[in-house]
C-alpha cells in the first residue's frame, strides 16, 4: 500500500497544475542588466523582487507577464542610509530591515510606526519597499508614507536615472509613472525635523490585512502654531492621497480639540471613497474621520475624550 502511494507520488509531478501563467525567468546581476532585459521585452516583462504582491497577482492571473526579471540578488539595492539629506532606502530593503534598524525609529518615526502595520511576519520578511511602490496598492502603507513625506523615488531606465516625486508617482490603482524599461533603485525620505508632531493610524478587519482606511500625518510648530502640515490617507481612493483641505485647516493653527473637530469635518467631506466587497464608501468616509481624529490627537498629545 505504501509502495503504491509512493509510486503515485512520483508520477504526480507531470500532472500538477499551477496557478500562475507560464513565464520565463531571468536573474539580473545588475540594474543595467535588468533595464536591458526590460527594454528588450517591454510590457511583456515584469520585475520581481520579494514577490509578495506579484506572486498573488500571478496566482490570480491578474498579471500574465512573459518574463520575470529577478532583481533580488542585486545586494547593493538593500542598503539603508541616513544623513543630512534624509533617509535613503534601497529598493530591496525589506520591511524586516526597517523594523530591525536601530537608527530609523529616531530618524523616521512615522515610517517605522506605519511599517508595523504592513501585512504579516512572513510577508514582512520578504516584501520590499521598491515592490510596494511599484505595485501601488491604494491601501498600502508605504506609498502613503511616501506621499505624506514627499519622498523622492529614484529610478533607472534606458534613458538613464531620473527622480520622481512620490506625489506624482501614483497615477491610479496599481498604476505608476514608471515606464516599462524603468526600475526603482531607491527612495529618499526628507530629513525628519526634531520635535515634529506626528500620528499614524489605520483600521483593518484583521491584523495584517489591507487597511479599509488609514491616515499618516505630521506637522512642525512655531510658537505652538502649525507649520508645514502634511496629511495623507490610504484606502480611500484609487491611490494614496494628500488631504490638502485638512492641511489648510491646520496651517497656522494650534491643534486643539476645536481644530481637530473642524479638520475631521473638512477631511471627510474632501474625499469620495469607492465602495467594494470589504466596505461601502460611506463606511470608509466615516472611518477616515475617526482615524484622522485619533492621529491628530496623538500628534498633539491630547486624549480622545478631550476632543469629542
Amino acid at each position: 500500500m505504501y509502495a503504491n502511494d509512493h509510486a503515485e507520488a512520483k508520477s504526480i509531478r507531470v500532472s500538477v497544475d499551477m496557478k500562475p501563467p507560464p513565464f520565463d525567468y531571468a536573474r539580473a546581476g545588475s540594474v543595467e542588466e535588468a533595464v536591458a532585459l526590460l527594454a528588450r521585452h517591454g510590457d511583456d516583462a515584469k520585475i520581481i523582487a520579494g514577490g509578495q504582491s506579484l506572486m498573488p497577482m500571478l496566482a490570480f492571473r491578474m498579471a500574465e507577464p512573459k518574463l520575470l526579471v529577478d532583481i533580488g540578488s542585486i545586494t547593493a539595492l538593500r542598503s539603508i542610509g541616513i544623513d543630512h539629506r534624509g533617509a535613503t532606502l534601497g529598493a530591496l530593503v525589506r520591511w524586516r530591515d526597517i523594523e530591525r534598524h536601530t537608527a530609523l525609529s529616531q530618524a523616521q518615526p512615522l515610517l517605522v510606526e506605519a511599517i508595523k502595520h504592513v501585512a504579516h511576519y512572513q510577508i514582512r520578511n520578504r516584501g520590499t519597499v521598491g515592490g510596494s511602490l511599484a505595485h501601488a496598492d491604494p491601501a498600502a502603507e508605504f506609498p502613503g508614507i511616501a506621499v505624506a513625506c514627499e519622498a523622492e523615488i529614484n529610478v533607472v531606465g534606458l534613458n538613464g536615472p531620473r527622480t520622481i516625486l512620490a506625489t506624482e508617482f501614483f497615477l491610479d490603482s496599481l498604476t505608476t509613472a514608471l515606464v516599462p524599461d524603468e526600475v526603482i533603485v531607491s527612495v529618499r525620505l526628507p530629513p525628519w525635523k526634531p520635535g515634529r508632531c506626528w500620528g499614524f493610524d489605520e483600521f483593518a478587519r484583521r491584523r495584517g490585512d489591507f487597511a479599509l482606511a488609514g491616515v499618516a500625518l505630521f506637522y512642525d510648530r512655531e510658537q505652538r502654531r502649525t507649520v508645514e502640515p502634511r496629511v495623507a490617507a490610504i484606502g480611500v481612493g484609487r491611490r494614496p492621497v494628500r488631504l490638502s483641505a485638512v492641511e489648510r485647516i491646520l496651517l497656522g493653527r494650534v491643534v486643539d480639540p476645536a481644530t481637530i473637530r473642524e479638520a475631521v469635518a473638512v477631511g471627510t467631506e474632501s474625499i469620495d471613497p469607492p465602495g467594494d466587497i470589504h466596505a461601502p464608501g460611506d463606511y470608509r468616509r466615516a472611518l477616515l474621520g475617526v482615524l484622522l481624529e485619533r492621529a491628530l490627537a496623538k500628534a498633539a498629545g491630547l486624549n480622545l475624550s478631550e476632543v469629542a
Binding site: V16, Q52, L68, N125, R126, G208
Partner: protein, 164 residues
C-alpha cells in the same frame, strides 16, 4: 517555457530541482523533493500553512519561486530540531502537551514560524507571539493553546544548546 535548474540547501542537504520557472518553492519542495510536510492551503499568501524558513527568516513558500531559492538555506518542518529517536523537538513536544493542534493542516506552518521567531527572539512575549502568528490561519484551535505552547517552548530556545 524552459525549465531551470536551481541549487539550494534543504535541511542541511544540498539539493537541485529542475522545474518550470513558475513553480513555487512550495511545489518544488512537495513534488520534486517529496517533502510533503510543507502544506499548501491558499496558494496566494493568506493562510501561512506553507511557511518555511529561508536563510533564517520565516517566509511563505507559495509566494516565492523555486528559482528564487538559488543559493539559499531552506529549513522545512522536516528539518526542525528534534530529539534522539522518537523524541519530539521542544516545539512539537509543547504542542502535544498543550493540545495546540486538532486537524493539523496549519501546524507545519505554525511550527516553522514559531521556530524562526524563537530562534531570533527567544524571549518573545505572548503579545509578540500572537502578533507573529496572526499570519497563520487555524480554524480548529482558537489559538489560545497555540500561544500557550509557543510560550512554554521558550526555555529550550533561551538555552540555545538544546535546539541547535
Amino acid at each position: 517555457m524552459v525549465s531551470r535548474i536551481t541549487h539550494f540547501t534543504v535541511n542541511g542537504k544540498r539539493v537541485q530541482v529542475d522545474v518550470e520557472p513558475r513553480t513555487s518553492l512550495a511545489d518544488a519542495l512537495r513534488y520534486d523533493l517529496k517533502l510533503t510536510g510543507t502544506h499548501v492551503g491558499c496558494e496566494h499568501g493568506v493562510c501561512g500553512a506553507c511557511t518555511v524558513i529561508v536563510d533564517g527568516a520565516a517566509v511563505r513558500s507559495c509566494l516565492m519561486l523555486a528559482a528564487q531559492a538559488e543559493g539559499t538555506h531552506v529549513v522545512t518542518i522536516e528539518g526542525l530540531p528534534r530529539g534522539q529517536g522518537d523524541v519530539l523537538g521542544p516545539l512539537a513536544a509543547s504542542f502535544r502537551k498543550h493540545h495546540a493542534l486538532q486537524c493539523g493542516f496549519c501546524t507545519p506552518g505554525i511550527l516553522t514560524t514559531a521556530h524562526a521567531l524563537l530562534s531570533e527572539e527567544p524571549n518573545a512575549d505572548a503579545e509578540r507571539i500572537r502578533e507573529v502568528l496572526s499570519g497563520n490561519l487555524c480554524r480548529c484551535t482558537g489559538y489560545i493553546s497555540v500561544i500557550d505552547a509557543v510560550l512554554d517552548a521558550r526555555p529550550a530556545y533561551q538555552n540555545q544548546k538544546t535546539v541547535r
